[in-house]
Amino acid sequence: MGPGELDRLWVLVSAALIFFMQAGFLCLEVGFVRPKNVVVTAMKNVVDWTIVSIIWMLVGFGIAFGHSLRGLIGIDLFFLDGVAAPNGNGLGWTFFLFQLGFAGTSATIVSGAMAERVSFFTYIILTTANALIIYPVVSHWVWGNSFFTDQHSWLTALGFHDFAGSTAVHSVGGWISIVAIVMLGPRLGRFGADGKVRPMESYSLPFVALGVFILWVGWWGFNGGSTLRAGEAAALVIVKTNLAGSVAGLVAYLHGRWFQRKIDLEGKFLGGILAGLVAITACSHVVSLPSAAAIGVLAGIAHNYSYILLMRLQIDDPVGAVPVHLVGGVLGTICVGLFGNLEKLSVVTGVHNTRLGQIGAQLAGVASVGVWTAGLAYLTCKILRATVGLRTSPQEEADGLTMSGEPREHVGEELDPDQVRKLLGGGE
């Protein structure tokens, strides 16, 4: 039976809640960065939505949800042709808007990780690459049978399951983030010569907390809306989502307090909540309430260890995007195999897997999406680094970033070429 008007309304409300998550990301990121960078950080959050909105309409939705070419990529629904109901799953424009929110979420995750040193132009190009090819292809692999329900992508044919995007949305943003920030380098002054982390001022932690609350309510639409039907099933999904986020936040706080010398407790508490929400996203309709709580425990602990690991590796992630979205996303996807009800999974996926088979399918999804996303992000960053540069100037970074990216010019010294050659070659 196709969707009724109430279902359509619920999914439309969910789409609005997901769009509102953009405001949550904005508050979170603005709250975490230094006061001198709040304006440009906010602008980056707005610009990625504008880019994704246009690209999604032109080609993104088609690549993600069009008729499948060998299970790899969608080949129609471009320029909105064929999107309207009663085509496909019957949700038409409602489904288009709902999925636009997911695409926008995947893009905006990256802005926080690269904050305070990436140039505005570089960020726009990277966002475009994500919106144009990286995210839509992953979306097709994971949800290619969501609009045209009589087809399979290569991943769905294995029984891989990612209910609302732990992998498709969050780990895509997380993979791009980790590749980008390794290639970008840290904020100047973040790590001392001895490798020690130097604390950097945050604009407003209450703003971060507000961002978490906005994201949290957005998640009600993110996961609850992914049932694509109004009713008790959606409400139960939201209950489990709420539970996992709450447990993960408390566990991250207590773990940070008892086992990590009380370092960055605010960041760990708030980041832990988000990691729990990310992790439950893949499995919220195929796990029990106790399992949702267990997933929250695992997410809180995994968040804290990855948070510390990044610092030890001197990888600078100003908002903790990688522990939340990459680690939470990978964990949640694997948890489908570990905790998911196999009977429910076989009904949802149409594939009868054993427990081991389901875990294998989940690992295949995590690995393939990781290779695809990290590979393309690396290629994009490599090209950008060799052509337009990834960062702002040290002067702009010291003064605070701007949208125009026109820093004070650095005036170098006049030097004797022979002397320079001698000095630079002297160590060889």
Partner: protein, 72 residues
């Protein structure tokens, strides 16, 4: 340009097109010698200490000339 008393180079900022890249000292030293020389002569290089403060180019070059890669 803000400069510093420190003469220990931690990072090197390299102008590239309209933007910049940040290299560690080993990454900079891995560039071919001619490319390094050209970058310096074209004033595309800023040597930075561990606070991100600019070190005068002559001091930075002196540091680099005495730089020994860490033993593997």
């Amino acid at each position: 340009v803000t400069t510093t008393e420190s003469k220990v180079v931690h990072h090197i900022s390299v102008k590239m097109g309209a933007g910049y890249n940040l290299l560690t000292v080993p990454q900079f030293m891995a560039l071919p010698i001619n490319e390094r020389v050209q970058l310096v002569l074209q004033k595309k290089i800023q040597f930075l200490d561990d606070h991100g403060t600019t070190i005068p180019v002559s001091d930075g070059l002196n540091f680099i000339s005495n730089y020994k890669p860490p033993a593997k």
